[in-house]
């Protein structure tokens, strides 16, 4: 199984000239009347275009993405994997609980493999007993209906002893498993005391607002649908919801925790190896529950610090005329009613903060990988890509769209 979403690491396509952006630009440089035709052409064979096509394109993010699995596997895991080659092939991925990349997910996966081994053995035993029970007296099948015989005393006694042993055995196994489960639970919780960094995640229908807190107020900043964290550093994640219940779940790092309006929950995540992981809302939250994902990028400390500094900066000023025009359109159109671009007058907090939108791995809460072409598709027809989402179609001419694209794509 290959994760097309996760681009192979030193992707030649991902560097230098961005092919998707080129594609998008090429199409969008058409005069207004043809923009419509172009868009229609993208839709190809009646499928929803932008998303389908976009996903077949390589990821156009700036990040070096190491391949997922394997290296740091614990011995228990290797052993278990050997036991279960069938499952193994499917285990890996950027959104898999069986491909742990963090301390907690590792412990949980270990616990799960242990449960699997014990329970599979029990299942096998039951099946064997069932087979024997069903077929040990087959030869007498031609007997007429009705009671065959009355149970014999010694058999009853033997079976009763078996029942007692069975019940005691069940209780013992279940008790043992409860013990293991409890121990892992304690171990996972203990991590919370070592958290060095705090992130506040607020779930909204249907995206994630992420705030990096800092004791120095002007060193806090906001982003959306992406979390970056330094490798090996436990991060406290404060979870809130603005509307309905959502659930924060990055399977490669940890189990889920709900975000509940009126309550504040907390979880701790830690990534033990570099990589990009995918998280997804796990509590049904309405129309676009299916497309409410976020990217979690684990990076070395220095890279993380550099990223953090870059995020603290206000948006880069537009560098050419086209972008300047784009900024003007952005600030005078409906965009400004919902979005913030720090350093400009756009300061609404209804939708995601776009200050560094072009530096994010994905668009529309993980619906599309980021590329200029995808951004164009998303702005042009958000309700086709993500029906019911809060992003409306904004009345822009194709030319205005071009300019806005140029501007937004410059917000690295």
């Amino acid at each position: 199984m290959t994760a097309r979403l996760a681009a192979p690491s030193p992707s030649p396509a991902g560097r230098g000239r961005d092919p998707c952006a080129a594609l998008g630009e090429a199409k969008l440089r058409l005069p207004p009347a043809q923009a419509l035709l172009a868009r229609k052409a993208w839709e190809g064979e009646g499928k929803v275009f932008p998303r389908n096509l976009a996903l077949t394109l390589p990821l156009c993010g700036p990040l070096p993405l190491p391949p997922g699995a394997g290296e740091g596997a614990a011995p228990w895991r290797r052993a278990a994997l050997a036991l279960c080659p069938l499952a193994l092939s499917a285990c890996q991925g950027i959104q898999s609980a069986l491909d742990p990349a963090g301390h907690q997910s590792g412990r949980i996966a270990g616990l799960w493999w242990l449960f699997l081994a014990v329970l599979a053995a029990i299942y096998a035993l039951v099946l064997v007993l069932l087979l024997i029970a069903a077929f040990r007296s087959r030869r007498r099948r031609s007997l007429p209906p009705g009671p065959a015989f009355r149970p014999e005393e010694p058999t009853e006694r033997r079976l009763t002893r078996g029942l007692t042993a069975w019940a005691v055995g069940t209780a013992a196994i279940v008790l043992t498993l409860t013990g293991f489960s409890y121990a892992v639970d304690r171990d996972i919780l203990a991590l919370g005391h070592r958290a060095e960094l705090t992130i506040e995640v607020t779930a909204k229908q249907w995206w994630w607002q992420v705030k990096y807190d800092d004791p120095v107020p002007n060193r806090s900043f906001e982003t959306a649908n992406e979390i970056r964290l330094p490798v090996g550093v436990p991060v406290r994640v404060v979870l809130k919801s603005q509307d309905v219940i959502h659930s924060f779940w990055v399977p490669n790092l940890h189990g889920k925790t709900d975000l509940i309006p009126g309550r504040v929950n907390e979880t701790v995540i830690v990534a033990d190896r570099e990589g990009r992981y995918r998280g997804q809302c796990a509590e049904f939250c309405g129309f676009q529950h299916a497309n409410m994902a976020l990217d979690v990028v684990a990076m070395p400390r220095e890279q993380f610090d550099a990223w953090r500094e870059s995020q603290l900066a206000p948006a880069s000023a537009p560098s050419d005329d086209r972008s300047r025009e784009g900024q003007r359109v952005f600030l005078t159109s409906a965009c400004v009613m919902c979005h913030t671009v720090r350093g400009t007058t756009a300061a609404s907090r209804v939708g995601p903060d776009l200050t560094h939108v072009a530096a994010r791995p994905s668009l529309a809460a993980g619906t599309l990988p980021y590329s200029k072409g995808n951004l164009a598709g998303w702005i042009a027809d958000p309700q086709r890509i993500k029906p019911g989402s809060q992003m409306p179609v904004v009345d822009l001419s194709a030319d205005q769209l071009q300019s806005v694209l140029a501007y937004l794509d410059g917000l690295k």
């Binding site: 959104q95 329970l119 029970a133 029942l163 892992v184 029906p387």
Partner: protein
């Protein structure tokens, strides 16, 4: 019946009355009047039970079609067969219909039909309430489906979590219809539960002391008690929900002191026992079918009864395991882990007893037994994955993923639908007087078994590799594509199995072999009467001398006489030892249950649109209830005491 001097002509069954005449007189007394009016006013538990069964199966098919629609949408990534809005309605309707309109009612339906026969009485307790419950259930189900067809189908999941289901985020009337459907079905379920409890406690045949009650009846008894204690929780919570939505209360509004988790506590306090409400009757099917086809008495009767009761109690202590990821204190969660795992012990005991029965028996592989074997294979797997879900850390990963979807389908289809199909094959001759085809039965089982496993086993893996539940679409490239396609293929095979079943039923109703009284050579009382049973069930009330009466008395059961044949009369016995105590009259057919149910329907549906419907709607309801209970004839003649 009029004046006092008629008393010498009172007729009772007994040696003094010819068998043929007894039969004729009982038939005249108990038969449902012919025609539409008679059909509408029937209070015969067998007719009501049959209607319940047929209606529940119709809902099963409808919800199954919805499942197929979902599987088609998910067969590949990013399909656009269904819009998210439609998909959300469909999965909500699927879950709601399966849980509230199929699983619980169909189990009750079997109880309504079989429990009076199995305990050896002429009618269910409170037969008019029974008729009323069916009409209310029917009205609730039809209302929900009409709403769905009108695009007012609920779209917030069968669990309707607030605030998504609350007034702000679920505009319009969709969720209101859901909440009122709950009220309808709960009224029906609670009524049936009371009937079953009273029937089992008071109407057992003489000699059927507690330790001789068939296990199916035990299962239904424990289930009925669970209904009594669990269903009020969902009534309370759905009422709170609809009040929040319609009259502005604040139960679930955190800004005004309410709390979203209150809903989850109340809902799962009902929702978890609900699983056992579905599963325990199914264990009753298994415990009925197994001894018949293993052809030896069930092993471990006492252990099985204790396991049922233990499951009933433990079932109320586990609801929090649906809320492990809501941020509740971890220490409390661990308690619920222990409680959830503890339920494996009674379940394990049941499995062992069934295996032992089969082991020591001389099994005959008829279709009902095939379904029971399929049940064991599938249900045990579902139970074991349930042990994984009971662990807080593992649950935090697989909660609300396809792993859970796989788990509960293994438990509910494996644990309830397989035994149910077995039960249909087993009791079909009793219900209709005809046998189902064994050959088609084997095909039915094979397609069902293969299709089921193909459809649902891959979902375990899907959940573990990250696929959440309730998504209308998923991106390509996460490794979910092939497994989803496989699941869809399995679902179509499963559907083919259902088609074979329908064909088998249709064919057998017309051309099936005519069944005799006891075609399988079973041991319980329902096989002591004709197939199908007469309106009065038994010509004479049988006397029970053991746990397997028909096996222990091969020459025919002893009976008691002295019950009137010219008036509907039941024999009441004592709760523990089933000693005869009272001969009690049983109600005649009546149209009032239907009228009252209509009044209830108007009240419930009206209240979705205006709270005043509760006030004005209560007037016809009161009229209906008074009409129902008002005595219709002059008082019965006081009977002379006979020594």
């Amino acid at each position: 019946m009029s004046p006092r001097d008629a008393s010498p002509f009172i007729r009772r069954d007994g040696p003094a009355l010819e068998e043929v005449e007894t039969y004729a007189r009982l038939e005249r007394t108990w038969a449902t009047p012919p025609g539409l009016w008679g059909w509408l006013s029937s209070v015969d538990h067998k007719q009501v039970g049959r209607r319940y069964i047929v209606t529940a199966f119709v809902f099963f098919l409808l919800a199954g079609l919805l499942a197929l629609a979902m599987r088609m949408q998910l067969a590949g990534p990013e399909q656009t067969l269904l819009t998210p809005d439609r998909y959300n309605q469909i999965f909500t309707m699927h879950g709601t219909t399966m849980m509230f309109l199929f699983a619980v009612p169909v189990m009750e339906a079997f109880a309504i039909y079989l429990v009076p026969l199995m305990v050896g009485t002429r009618a269910i307790a409170f037969p008019r309430l029974n008729a009323f419950s069916y009409w209310v259930y029917l009205a609730g189900g039809v209302m929900l489906w009409v709403a769905f067809i009108l695009n007012v189908g609920p779209d917030v999941g069968w669990f309707s979590y607030v605030p998504l289901a609350g007034p702000q985020f679920s505009p319009g009337k969709r969720t209101d219809f859901w909440a009122q459907m709950i009220t309808f079905t709960e009224v029906a379920a609670l009524a049936v539960a009371v009937e079953i409890i009273v029937t089992v406690f008071k109407q057992r045949a003489p000699g059927m002391s507690l330790n001789r009650i068939p296990l199916f009846v035990w299962g239904q008894l424990v289930t009925s008690f669970m209904v009594v204690f669990a269903m009020p929780a969902v009534m309370v919570s759905s009422s709170m929900l609809i009040m929040d939505r319609l009259i502005g209360t604040h139960f679930f509004n955190p800004a005004e002191g309410g709390d979203a988790l209150l809903w989850q506590h109340l809902f799962w306090f009902f929702g978890h026992p609900e699983v056992y409400i579905i599963f325990l009757p199914a264990t009753g099917f298994v415990s009925s079918i197994l001894p018949t086809f293993a052809r030896r008495p069930i092993f471990g009767y006492t252990a099985l009864v204790l396991a049922l009761v233990a499951t009933g109690f433990l079932g109320f202590g586990l609801w929090v395991h649906h809320m492990f990821v809501t941020g509740l204190p971890h220490l409390g969660n661990s308690f619920y882990t222990a409680a959830s795992m503890a339920i494996a012990v009674p379940s394990g005991i049941q499995i062992f007893c069934w295996l032992a029965t089969l082991w020591d028996g001389r099994p005959r592989f008829a279709t009902p037994l095939l379904f029971v074997i399929g049940f064991i294979v599938i249900f045990v797997l579902g139970g074991l994955s349930g042990i994984m879900l009971a662990s807080v850390p593992i649950d935090s990963q697989v909660h609300d993923t396809y792993f859970v979807v796989a788990h509960f389908h293994y438990v509910l289809i494996g644990g309830a639908v397989f035994p149910l199909f077995g039960a249909v094959y087993y009791w079909f001759p009793k219900f209709t007087g005809r046998m189902l085809s064994e050959r088609a039965g084997a095909w039915n089982f094979g397609l069902f078994f293969v299709g089921f496993n193909l459809a649902f086993f891959p979902m375990h893996i899907l959940g573990l590799i990250g696929m959440p539940r309730r998504v209308y679409s998923y991106p390509a490239g996460l490794g979910w594509d092939d497994l989803n396609l496989l699941a869809t293929a399995g679902a179509t095979i499963l559907a083919a199995g259902v088609l074979v079943f329908l064909g088998n039923v249709w064919h057998s109703l017309k051309y099936g072999l005519v069944a005799d009284d006891n075609p399988w050579g079973a041991a319980t009382l329902e096989w002591a009467t004709t197939s199908p049973p007469p309106s009065f069930n038994f010509v004479h009330i049988p006397v029970v001398t053991g746990s397997n009466p028909l096996w222990e008395e091969p020459d025919g059961l002893p009976v008691v006489g002295g019950l009137r044949v010219d008036q509907r009369e039941l024999l009441l016995t004592s709760v523990v030892d089933a000693e005869p105590e009272v001969r009690e009259p049983s109600p005649e057919p009546s149209i009032w249950p239907l009228l009252s149910a209509t009044a209830v329907t108007i009240l419930f549906i009206g209240s979705i649109f205006t709270p005043w419907a509760v006030v004005w709607g209560s007037i016809p309801l009161a009229v209906g209830l008074i009409g129902w209970f008002w005595p219709k004839s002059a008082p019965d003649t006081p009977e002379p005491v006979i020594d």
